[in-house]
């Protein structure tokens, strides 16, 4: 038994849990596959591949590219990290789109006939929310920039009666 467990690579409790849970998962999986074996398999595999190997690499690459492309800034601006002021509205708006894309893109064709409610407002609602997110983020960044500039000015001219221009040296 000890040799068997060493071969297995974990404790007996681990083995029991795994066997029990796989039995449960297997039972449910058989019923699930009975609904539509090919479709369900494609969906499960597609879920893992679509998320781990498509969505995540895409947003990682997008994030890195944006940071690589926008490296220049006007020299008079202080160095305030800006990436999160872009990341937050993009990701939040993206999550809303990910959840609600069928209504936003008006895909459920009989929605209005079924519920009396039109699908036409959802695109505008999403765009409006996205706009508010970006504006809020831009305002927050502007505020941060202003404070940083104030700090930088104070650091450059610590005396109260500092001359308007730095003396030529």
């Amino acid at each position: 038994v000890r040799r068997l467990l060493r071969w297995y690579g974990a404790s007996p409790l681990n083995l029991l849990t795994m066997v029990g849970c796989f039995a449960l998962a297997g039972y449910a999986a058989v019923m699930l596959l009975k609904v539509n074996a090919l479709g369900v398999t494609v969906w499960f595999a597609g879920a893992v591949i679509g998320h781990d190997l498509v969505l995540m690499p895409l947003y990682t690459i997008a994030d890195r590219s944006v940071r690589a492309v926008f490296t220049r800034r006007p020299p008079e601006l202080p160095a305030v990290p800006w990436i999160n002021y872009l990341r937050v509205p993009v990701v939040l708006s993206g999550i809303l789109l990910l959840i609600w894309f069928p209504l936003i893109l008006r895909l459920p064709r009989s929605f209005q006939a079924s519920t009396t409610l039109p699908t036409s407002p959802y695109l505008w609602h999403w765009l409006a929310v996205t706009g508010v997110l970006f504006l809020t983020s831009a305002a927050a960044y502007a505020l941060r920039l202003r404070r940083a500039r104030g700090r930088a000015r104070k650091a450059a001219h610590p005396a109260k009666e500092a001359p308007a221009r730095p003396p030529a040296s």
């Binding site: 796989f22 449910a28 999986a29 998320h51 990341r87 959840i99």
Partner: protein, 437 residues
């Protein structure tokens, strides 16, 4: 010419299989464990409310009510669904759907935080490791499958590979089994990781002071961390803001009243029409093919009985709408609560008690009733109600709502309304009721 010799033991291939490929300075067991803890507390609520929602259909009462007749042992917990409090199903389903939506951002952040583990090298260390990786396939696949089917279903975009009920129910059990394995395997790691850093101190640490977790803390910590671009506090606030945003834009469809309009992106966040029938509808008369000619003066309600009373030779009773209006009328203040997570405030329904109709059919102590709609076909053109549901004084065959006749979309000439029941069991355009003694 130099000869390049292969190392005696093959290392990981280049790319994501090398740990140095992953450079996030904030990935680490502590951050993953915080997201894990949030999910550990809230996912069980979504699972339990989902299982309760299945129980609310009373699937054991009749095959008519059961969308997953092959459930076998997976229905071990079923019980007769109660009729009070009247908001029970409204609360259950509001929590199930809204909390599920709110967890989408947390789930995405959690999956981001553990991505390097997908490319772990060597891919298989032992049979135990193989089982763990298989369970992770079921966990990630099951989670995305459950969230996707639920989210598409509430938007009535039925693109999943089959009927929603069996897919979502059996998928939930696959996911739950995988989740139990994951929790058993990972809870010790989670506790250790959560103890390794103070949450309060992390919430006070800004970007400039953000350092990677200790390199020996585990696989997730990058051996070659880049300079941080966001603090741990920043990531937690980011994910929390995502959840709050999703909640703010959808919870109104479950709260109803003036808050409904705040659900800017939820399927039932718009007000429905005007007048006394101006509350949410899931299936209009037109979409299920109810013709005005069927609901006019020629409409009749057939009350039948089966079982012992039928043997006693009690003939079916046929009633017009005027007959029903001449019977004793009662008022019940009840919501409509849909499996899709939206609901309405209480509406004032007027009509005849189901228990009075049972007596009229010759069954004084009914064990169940099969309610059939004029609607032809469709999973919910009929439903079987339990003895409790028939005998509740609030259970009505409603003829009027909010002081006016039912509108066609709300089930004119007559519809069932039962407290605490899923919306689809409040059968509209009722044609017949067969009481079982």
């Amino acid at each position: 010419v130099k000869l390049k010799l292969k190392p005696p033991i093959a290392g990981p291939p280049p790319g994501p299989f090398r740990r140095s490929f992953w450079r996030s300075p904030i990935r680490g067991p502590w951050l993953t464990s915080v997201f894990g803890l949030v999910l550990l507390v809230s996912i069980p609520v979504v699972i339990v409310t989902g299982l309760l929602s299945y129980a609310a259909y009373n699937p054991d009462l009749s095959p008519v009510n059961d969308e997953t007749p092959g459930k076998g042992l997976l229905g071990f917990y079923l019980f007769s669904w109660p009729t009070h409090p009247v908001w029970l199903y409204r609360l259950n389903q509001g929590v199930h759907v809204t909390l599920g939506l709110v967890l989408v951002p947390i789930l995405l952040f959690k999956l981001w935080s553990v991505l390097p583990k997908l490319f772990e090298w060597p891919p298989l260390r032992s049979p135990a490791h193989l089982l763990e990786r298989l369970s992770l396939f079921l966990l990630v696949g099951g989670a995305v499958f459950e969230f996707a089917t639920g989210i598409l279903n509430i938007q009535t975009w039925y693109k999943f590979p089959g009927s929603f009920y069996p897919l979502h129910f059996y998928g939930a059990w696959v996911f739950t089994a995988a989740l139990v394995m994951h929790v058993v395997l990972k809870v010790p790691t989670m506790i250790r990781a959560l103890r390794s850093r103070s949450l309060i101190r992390e919430l006070r640490t800004n970007l400039a002071d953000t350092r990677p977790e200790s390199p020996d803390a585990g696989y997730l910590v990058s051996p070659a961390p880049a300079a941080p671009t966001i603090s741990r506090r920043g990531v937690l606030v980011f994910a929390g803001a995502g959840s709050l945003l999703v909640a703010a834009l959808s919870v109104g469809q479950a709260l109803g009243g003036p808050l409904r309009r705040t659900a800017l992106l939820a399927p039932h966040g718009q007000e429905a029409g005007g007048g006394p029938g101006s509350f949410q509808v899931n299936r209009t008369a037109a979409i299920v093919g109810i013709k005005p000619s069927e609901t006019g003066d020629t409409w009749r309600l057939t009350l039948a009985s089966s079982g012992q009373a039928a043997h006693a030779g009690h003939a079916p009773v046929v009633l017009t709408r005027a007959d029903l209006l001449h019977m004793e009328q009662h008022t019940a203040s009840l919501p409509i609560a849909c499996v899709e997570g939206w609901s309405t405030d209480n509406q004032a329904w007027d009509g005849v008690r189901l228990s009075d109709l049972a007596r009229l059919a010759g069954v004084s102590r009914p064990s169940s009733v099969l309610v059939r709609s004029l609607q032809r076909g469709g999973a919910f053109s009929q439903a079987v109600l339990s003895a409790d549901q028939i005998m509740s004084p609030d259970s009505l065959l409603a003829l009027r709502v909010n002081g006016a006749d039912l509108t066609p979309d709300h089930g004119y000439p007559a519809r069932v309304i039962v407290p605490a029941s899923p919306g689809v069991h409040n059968t509209k355009w009722v044609a017949s009721m067969t009481f079982e003694a």
